[in-house]
Subunit: 356 residues, 2 copies
Amino acid sequence: MNYAVIMAGGAGTRLWPISRERLPKPALRLYSDESMFQIAVKRLSPLFTPQQVIVVAGAGHTAVLSEQVPEIPPENFIVEPEGRGTASAIALTAVHLAARDPEATMAVLTADHFIGNEVVFREAVAAALTAAEDDCLVTLGITPEFPSTEYGYIQQGQVLREIAGHKVLEALRFVEKPDLERAKEMLQSGDYSWNSGMFIWKVSVILDEFSRQMPELFDQITCIGRAVNTHAYAVTLGETWPKIRKQTIDYGIMEGARKVVVIPVAMQWTDVGNWNSLKALLPEDARGNTIRGDAFLLDCDGSLIVGAQKLIAGVGLEDLIVVDTPDALLVCRKDRVQDVRKIADTLKAAGRLDLI
Amino acid sequence: MNYAVIMAGGAGTRLWPISRERLPKPALRLYSDESMFQIAVKRLSPLFTPQQVIVVAGAGHTAVLSEQVPEIPPENFIVEPEGRGTASAIALTAVHLAARDPEATMAVLTADHFIGNEVVFREAVAAALTAAEDDCLVTLGITPEFPSTEYGYIQQGQVLREIAGHKVLEALRFVEKPDLERAKEMLQSGDYSWNSGMFIWKVSVILDEFSRQMPELFDQITCIGRAVNTHAYAVTLGETWPKIRKQTIDYGIMEGARKVVVIPVAMQWTDVGNWNSLKALLPEDARGNTIRGDAFLLDCDGSLIVGAQKLIAGVGLEDLIVVDTPDALLVCRKDRVQDVRKIADTLKAAGRLDLI
């Protein structure tokens, strides 16, 4: 059986004040009346039914996600007691799926990205499921649209095969977020994709890689895996999980994996990571302003206005972000959106827990 | 008897969204927990008791003002059915006072100005009351602190007398708001005061001037004055007032008056006309930010943050005005505060009457 695994653990503090600790980032309704999680599950159909969707989320977050998409069976929610990095979350999911079906193939997907062309997305995942039959680790690469310094890159080698019009290439190397010059070089060379963080592989194959490259994690996760579907599960997870070291799948597995391939896709893919990336997804008026809610702007340019219940009036604003919520208001220069995280951090440090 | 007449008719649309049509500007609590009206009445003591304070305000505004200062007897509130300019409001007050006491002297004062030194203010008004005994029109001039282009000026002639240390000078000419160059010249010459809009005169003297210079208004107001304290008052006022032409005391009386003197005063006087002038009255942090309410600022400079019930977080703001109220939020560049008026106008035109 094929499974879609939605990693729903993102915190999204750069989207404060709409993002809060009690809500995982995928649960936010940012560019639609539906949450990013609801959109992510919908776009899987008909490739995966809700029964084939596995959700990995923090303990405090599964309830709201389950409420948003009640079609997903409760047993398909896997709780991470606390964030231990993507490698650990994927390994935990792998042992769960292995307990269901040792022959399972899993597609590790995200819910905090915008995908413009859902048909292309599904076709690419379908091709990746076929490619994964060769016991390789498949990654979806995003054909870069501009020299981003916000994404990691994957260097591509030769074309290995073609599946339903999708090229499957050798993945030579994972590259961290580059500086602008390096990003331009990579874009121009045509040999690189953005690293989407979406991976497709057989459960057996990824468990072999964990065993080979991350033996400590493999032992811990095997121990948890043996308890799956038993009364001992909660205790075993609670005892083992805190000992697991934080590690990402990119460093822990992908960089040293034996057989990695990449399928480049062009599907309008954006990490909705901060207010600027959200703004880029929403329509603009003639002066580049983006408005959600009730606003009146006089001589404003390039600004994002997100309202809640009240009227927002702007005069002479340039490249400003205004986000109003019932209990907190953010006003931020557009070139400082990365620092919104610091607001949330400072509020936390100051004990203003109601606001984060 | 001496009376203090507080002109409380100001609309203050440039202070939107705190200022609203249902509230006269003096009723706003802007720089203190007390309203500007409450402050204005308090600073008159002990020169004038509440029984000596007359308030001129719009029909919809007397209730809130009376509530704020219940010590003022209800009969001391004079209603302007609608704004017809300062000349008409002063003439209306004069006939009311003449009915009480033909020998009365009135000090026409404002409530929408900040006065830093209240002792000096009272001493100057006391001196002006003495000067007015000579049957002249006395104005309080403000010794200019900078070349303002927002205030009118009064050109001073020779010193006529001195009262308790206050010079009484001949007032030669009233000058409209100048451009910057002209303002600098006037400041440097030392011969000019700012026109404070505060006037002190005998009721009989100002009525004589109305009779001489504004005979049409004088006739209308005499007609109303005859009805004061009779059952016919409301009907007479209602019939006569709408026919009165709008006119200011400066144009209508002061420029052509026979015997005008000016008493210059240095007492930290500011028209609280817009968000910048309010900001100038409030304390600043080391980076020039002014905060009222609950705010957290990261790398902000020169900004004014006025909160209501919620936290306001600012990131990277420069010279920005943020004013939050329960049903409307203003975000405005500091050099555009004069255009806040346009927001209120546009909302009115759009029928958003709940917000203005």
